[in-house]
């Protein structure tokens, strides 16, 4: 089978890091990601089935991995070599289409009894992602045993599969997994005042859609977007006000009637969902969140440098929002269909053109795109 495989190679990892710093997405050219012909992955147990990916999305965390920008935190909970791709819609042997729920939690690892978090349905908080009968891997796409969506074949536990309804297109189906992340963040809690979404890449836009349709906060949703197409989509998906990143302090001050002490708002937004995850975005979030407010960290961060004085002084909480529960995933199917989120798939590429695909994904906003995906439907051999 053909696959894009990420190998453990320190020199290539270092080269990717340098290239990625020069231009986002360039890590694909010199880094540990290679297009290879490899054997099909084995089925770990009889509960596992083979899946032939149709579309597989490129996510921000994938880009960070390709560019060598991921945190070393992940090292113990991934296994090499792995085939990336956790946003996947594919064909099962019986001809049905399924979306993968990529979290490799206790049940799919054959761990019994499952951990407390899995027992409570919070598979995203599973304590056993490095244990059980599978190699370490927090998700499909980061585990040596499962393969991933950037290939012509992979394996998945039956508990990881959700059947795609007949009327749903592949483009919509591939958006279900990232949408579930957004749903998880959006529904985490409800507020009365202003909600801010920082960033209007894929996860930012999906979070806006989830907030508007599943939470519908009483106060306005203010979103930041750097590019014009992002601004258009943010407004179309439900943001009441869309501003450029450098304008958000003023926009939130106005919307909340806050005063200002230096760069810090004295009041601010009830909730800030940071869909960027950088030092700058987190610092901005702390400047605009009200005392006692919550910053939801939705975008995957890495190393950040942050002055936490205002967090301490204003009793602000920063809360990580990773992945989803089973319920979130179900809600995501409905949201994708209702908000027509398949429209966010801007371009697809064959595996052969993976460097172009990754570069396009890394420059998506600037090039007027949102989600870039691999299209495996026309690969010569689909095992």
């Amino acid at each position: 089978m053909r696959a894009l495989r990420f190998e453990r190679s320190l020199p290539r990892f270092a080269a990717a890091k340098v290239a990625g710093m020069l231009a986002p997405g360039r890590g694909a050219t010199v880094g540990p990601l290679r297009l290879v012909d490899i054997d099909l992955p084995d089925l770990p147990t009889t509960d596992w089935v083979r899946l032939r990916p149709r579309l597989a999305g490129i996510c921000g965390s994938d880009l960070a991995t390709v560019d060598g920008a991921s945190s070393r935190y992940f090292e113990p909970i991934v296994s090499f070599p792995f085939v990336p791709g956790h946003e996947v819609v594919g064909d099962l042997d019986d001809g049905t289409r399924a979306v993968v729920v990529p979290v490799l939690h206790c049940a799919v690892r054959g761990i019994d009894p499952v951990c407390d978090w899995c027992a409570a349905g919070h598979i995203n908080r599973c304590e056993r992602v490095a244990f059980g009968h599978l190699d370490a891997g927090l998700q499909t796409g980061y585990c040596a045993d499962t393969g991933g969506g950037w290939s012509t074949s992979m394996v998945a536990h039956t508990l990881q599969l959700r059947t795609v309804p007949d009327g749903m297109s592949d483009e919509e189906a591939v958006m279900v997994e990232p949408t579930a992340c957004a749903v998880h963040a959006a529904v985490a809690h409800r507020t009365e005042g202003v909600t801010v979404v920082l960033g209007a890449g894929t996860i930012g836009l999906l979070t806006i859609a989830a907030l508007r349709r599943l939470v519908d906060p009483r106060g306005p949703i203010v979103a930041t977007a750097r590019y014009s197409e992002q601004r258009r989509l943010a407004a179309a998906l439900g943001a009441d006000m869309v501003v450029e990143p450098g304008e958000v302090e003023r926009a939130v001050r106005r919307a909340t009637g806050s005063l200002q002490a230096g760069a810090q708002l004295t009041g601010g937004a009830d909730r800030v969902l940071d869909c960027v995850g950088s030092s700058e975005s987190l610092a901005q979030a702390l400047r605009i969140v009200r005392p006692g407010g919550v910053v939801d960290l939705v975008g995957m961060p890495a190393h950040v440098s942050l002055d936490l004085t205002s967090l301490w002084h204003r009793e602000v909480a920063i809360v990580g929002r990773y992945a989803y529960s089973a319920e979130d995933f179900t809600a995501a199917f409905g949201l994708v269909a209702e908000a027509r989120l398949g429209q966010l798939v801007s371009a697809t590429y064959p595996l052969d053109r993976f460097e172009d695909a990754i570069r396009h994904a890394a420059e998506a906003g600037r090039r007027g795109a949102v989600k870039i995906a691999f299209d495996l439907r026309n690969e010569k051999v689909r095992n």
Partner: protein, 528 residues
Amino acid sequence: MAHRPGFVLEVDRSTPPTLFMRGEGFSLERLPVGSRIVYPSEALPLLNDPEGAIRHALLNPVGTDPLPALLFPGMKLTIAFDDISLPLPPMRAPDVRQRVIEAVLDMAADAGVDDVHLIAALALHRRMTEAELRHALGDRVYDAFAPRGLLYNHDAEDPENLLFIGETPQGEEVEINKRAAESDLLVYVNINLVAMDGGHKSTATGLASYRSLRHHHNVKTMRHSRSFMDQRHSELHSSNWRMGEVLRKAGVKIFQIETTLNNDTFPKPFDFLQKREWEWSAKDRATFVASSRSLARTPDRIKRSIFNSIEAPHNLTGVNAGEIEAVHELTTAKVFEQQLVHVDGQSDILTMGLPYICPYNVNSVMNPILVMCLGLGYFFNLYRNKPLVREGGVLIMSHPTPWAFHPVHHPSYIDFFEQVLADTTDPIEIEKKYEKSFAEDEWYRHLYRTSYAYHGVHPFYMWYWGAHALEHLGGVIIIGGDTKAVRRLGFKPASTLRDALEMAEDVVGRDPSITHLHAPPILVAEVS
């Protein structure tokens, strides 16, 4: 030598290129043959003895007793004066306000008046700094009054120091500075740079609160002021005159002093900017070339600093004192003597070069909203009878229009530009949807009262100021502006005059008639 009046030049093949101001810079442009250029008149002769003329006006006022007869021991005397927005550019010391106020204070001292307050009548403008007050009033006045808290800026958001006077028959609320309203005599010292200034507008606007100002600073009033320079056809004036009547009936006693200046605008070496191009000397041409080249290489911040340091050699041409309406009639006649130019008919396209300064960016930054206000609010309205450009015509103006704001002076402007204009440029919708929230924003109020910020509602007024032009014009093009900022204003950017004229032809048709307003110095076109 007698001054030469303004006139209209028809461009032919021998006409030299025409000067266009471009913010902190300028260029020479070739207008198509057949275009018209409206030139201002030369500066009126100055009064040889300004102090004597001022004293004469105070002792021989129109419609009231001489000032000394109105002064008595134990009285409350308040002297209000125009703020930093006048004159433009700020005048070379001594400022005319200093000359007038020193004369008034001398008479007050002679009469034994010891309860005197001086108030900068700034309405919703930013507060004047100590340096600006010293420049306007002189060190002697400043040092005698400011340290004792007797010289200060009007505060239109201080409920303790505002007094509701009453309403006009149209329901317009009149609320002004309490000290001024409760004084035995309010002396208002004006600088009447244009015909719009002065009259009842001085007190009814300069010393008013937002509650009061909103009755005439709104889209409806602005659209029915055709133009602001023509009191008889200006709803802005009608409203202020009605308010003035309310003040009069309530017993607020006002002694109006109005001064007029000639249009000597630029000092050396920039004096060539107010000369007619064919009369430029070799030295003028060399100065133009050298200054153009060096300005092109100079960072914006330094250019602003250079131009903000310009002090105009304005000279006093007249001073009148006494009853408001009688004084204002004399003043207006004098202003028009300096500024009026007869123009035969409208044109399809009006071009203008916008300078670096307008009433609201003295010692500050000409932000895009002020560019709009200067072009569409002020220059477009420099007419009597009808605009220089026909209805549906195109206005072309040159200005760099940077996406730049003074963070201290114009905080609400930044939000207006980023948030309001990103949504709509329609003045009616802006007024309906956004004005109240900006006007009542506690942060803007705080900055207006304690810092040096224009009031939160001020950018709205700037936009309304251009509402008549926006309704009248078929399009607006800015040459040489920041493309993004120009588009945010709802206008079209062009890189050259030729491009702009071609773009304008899409709106007004081929072979359009073109008129160029050659200002500054300021002129008012009497369009037949």
